[in-house]
């Protein structure tokens, strides 16, 4: 049975506290220095991680004797946002994942970030589970900055995900939870899967298996490693971005997560007023459509899909 603890609390103006809670599972012998943190809800409109937290908690409750080290589950970092369908920190309209490591001496979002870092500091591993936003649907993937690839890719390969995307370092991403924790020595993986404001049961179960496997491999659980899938590695190919060429209503022609050939039609941008098809979105390369737009209204430039194609 896990122990629910409040790790950060701050008074709100009218009779309420903003709080961050975790559920801590420990071996029968008590807490260990060896610790892993499972995190979700940094963005209030991303719910896939909440379901994974539930599934993991359910598994741990049923297999308490298998726990070898401390396992912390933080399902709801931005609790104000989660309970109000708000991506950023309400009232301040600030993206919490652009304010890390935060500060005790700054405004509320920065204090929340500081509270998160303080609570998780010392964890050996952290897994930060995001959905996509409400606009895009993603296959389960881990995104890793190139500078962290050597350490993190082997861990990501244990997570039963479909894709490991190693990207160039961008300075603005130095303000993320993952960067802050990696800087502090906690190996932190960022999972993206599904779509904002929804949850997909299949993805949740897929990632649960990956987390159990990672925990088995890394000495947190006394179970045999699971038979997980090997993710596609981004370095073996290229990612093509499909941006809308004009505003309108994007109508997909194929399902998400399909293999497509170069030149095939991904979807159409149509004009509801005139009844005209304004443009067809054509695959510039062949490969897997690992991102597909879920929210149909597009402006020029709106991302409608991403294709990963292997180098030939």
């Amino acid at each position: 049975m896990g122990v629910i603890e409040e790790v950060f609390s701050i008074d709100l103006p009218v009779g309420e506290q903003f709080r961050i809670q975790r559920c801590r599972y420990t071996p029968t012998g008590g807490e260990t220095l060896k610790r892993i943190s499972i995190v979700s809800g940094i963005h209030g409109d991303e719910l896939e991680g909440q379901y994974v937290c539930f599934l993991l908690g359910e598994w741990l409750r049923a297999h308490a004797d298998k726990i070898k080290a401390t396992i912390d589950i933080y399902p709801a970092i931005n609790s104000l946002g989660l309970d109000s369908i708000t991506r950023s920190v309400p009232f301040y309209d600030v993206d919490l994942n652009r304010i890390f490591p935060g500060s005790k001496n700054d405004f509320l979002p920065a204090q929340i970030a500081d509270g998160v870092v303080s609570a998780m500091r010392g964890s050996e591993i952290a897994i930060d589970i995001h959905s996509s936003n409400v606009f895009l649907r993603e296959i389960p993937q881990v995104r890793i900055a190139k500078s962290q690839a050597k350490t993190l890719v082997p861990l990501a390969n244990k997570l039963n995900i479909d894709f490991v995307w190693v990207h160039d370092a961008v300075t603005v991403l130095e303000s993320t939870f993952a960067h802050a924790m990696n800087t502090l020595g906690t190996k932190t993986l960022v999972v993206e899967m599904g779509v904002g404001m929804r949850l997909g049961k299949a993805y949740g179960h897929q990632l649960l298996e990956g987390i159990l496997n990672l925990m088995a491999c890394e000495g947190f659980l006394d179970i045999e490693p699971l038979d997980v899938r090997m993710p596609i590695q981004s370095h073996v190919g290229e990612v093509a971005y499909l941006n809308a060429s004009c505003p309108g209503l994007f109508v997909p022609a194929i399902e998400h997560c399909q293999m497509i050939e170069k030149g095939s039609i991904v979807g159409a941008i149509v004009d509801p007023l005139s009844g005209q098809t304004l443009d067809e979105v054509i695959a510039p390369i062949g490969g897997i459509l690992f991102t597909l737009r879920a929210y149909p209204i597009v402006y020029e430039g709106s991302l409608v899909g991403r294709i990963f194609g292997e180098n030939v």
Binding site: P13, K104, Y241
Partner: protein, 318 residues
């Protein structure tokens, strides 16, 4: 004055977003400056100052007083301004977090790219900024240390304070940093309270912009001298936090010179009315910023005091 279209961006269902600029003078006559107004939908004060400046410059141009080239773009994100949103209404992204922009990228990256292209080649760049928190402040110059900043031109605004500080990671995707890197002596003037117009601050900023243009020989008119700006680095700012949450009642206004021991504000329990806290100045200085919402969060920054102690600030005369 030429009223020019900076760019035009179509919407699925709304009328196109038309970003307009007002161009005065000619480049061949002297130095050039571009002034950027509201990039967010709650930067009403910035819109107000920019549009007022357009009208002022129109009159000065008729009088033959423009000796350089001036571009004023009062509003970038008029879509947000027209519907009470802060950021880009569809995806809630901040245009001022998208620079230098990317012409093949997402919508606000493309908007930033089009704007940034129009802002190239100016000697000076001034961004009228609102606050990024729930505060209000004395107008000040924000100048980040990119290694390309120009503090001398910042002094010519004659504003009371120049906040001179290293940039944070997120500022590498903001206009000031990128504009500096691309060769324009860019700075920001931060003022007011988001979503409102403060006539006193607006007047001060308007005067500073005119003074800047006169000092930099872009505009030929008589102006009063401004302040010899105090250059304040982060260690020169004292933060006063609310230790309790509740109803916040400020007893002072921005710009007030305060003494150690002065009561600056009070917090009362929002339900019981109990007096929870008095916020006391721990140091002598000038109150530069204060929280500007009647409900305050625990540990929110209630006040900022700029210290004039020699140890904590660097003051240089011109």
């Amino acid at each position: 004055m030429k009223r020019i279209e900076i760019f035009n961006f179509k919407s699925p269902n709304r009328a196109p977003l038309k970003v307009e600029g007002f161009l005065f003078g000619e480049e061949s006559n002297g130095p050039s400056v571009a002034i950027v107004g509201a990039m967010s939908g709650d930067h009403i004060n910035q819109l107000y100052v920019a549009s007022r400046l357009v009208e002022y410059l129109r009159q000065k141009e008729e009088e033959g007083k423009i000796s350089g080239k001036i571009l004023v773009i009062p509003a970038i994100n008029s879509y947000a301004l027209n519907m009470g949103e802060t950021f880009w209404p569809l995806d809630k992204t901040d245009i001022n977090m998208m620079f230098p922009g990317y012409a093949q990228g997402e919508t606000t990256q493309r908007i930033a790219a089009k704007l940034f292209e129009a802002l190239q080649g100016f000697n000076y760049g001034i961004i009228l900024e609102g606050r990024r928190d729930q505060g209000m402040c004395l107008p000040y110059v924000k100048l980040i240390k990119s290694d390309y900043e120009d503090i001398d031109s910042a002094r010519d605004l004659g504003m009371r304070f120049i906040h001179f500080r290293p940039y944070s990671p997120i500022e590498t995707v903001m206009l000031q940093y990128n504009w500096q890197l691309w060769g324009t002596k860019a700075l920001s003037v931060v003022f007011g309270k988001n979503g409102s117009i403060d006539p006193v601050s607006s007047e001060e900023v308007h005067g500073a912009l005119v003074r800047f243009m006169v000092k930099r020989q872009i505009l030929d008119t008589a102006v009063f001298e401004g302040f010899v700006s105090n250059i304040i680095e982060p260690e020169g700012i004292t933060l006063l936090k609310a230790s309790r949450a509740g109803i916040f009642d400020s007893l002072v206004s921005c710009g007030t010179t305060v003494s150690k021991g002065d009561t600056l504000g009070r917090i009362t329990d929002a339900l019981s009315g109990e007096k929870l806290e008095k916020i006391i100045a721990p140091i002598d200085g000038v109150l530069t910023c204060q929280y500007a919402h009647p409900l305050i969060f625990q540990n929110s920054i209630a006040f900022r005091i700029a210290s004039v102690e020699l140890k904590k600030s660097i003051t240089k005369s011109k």
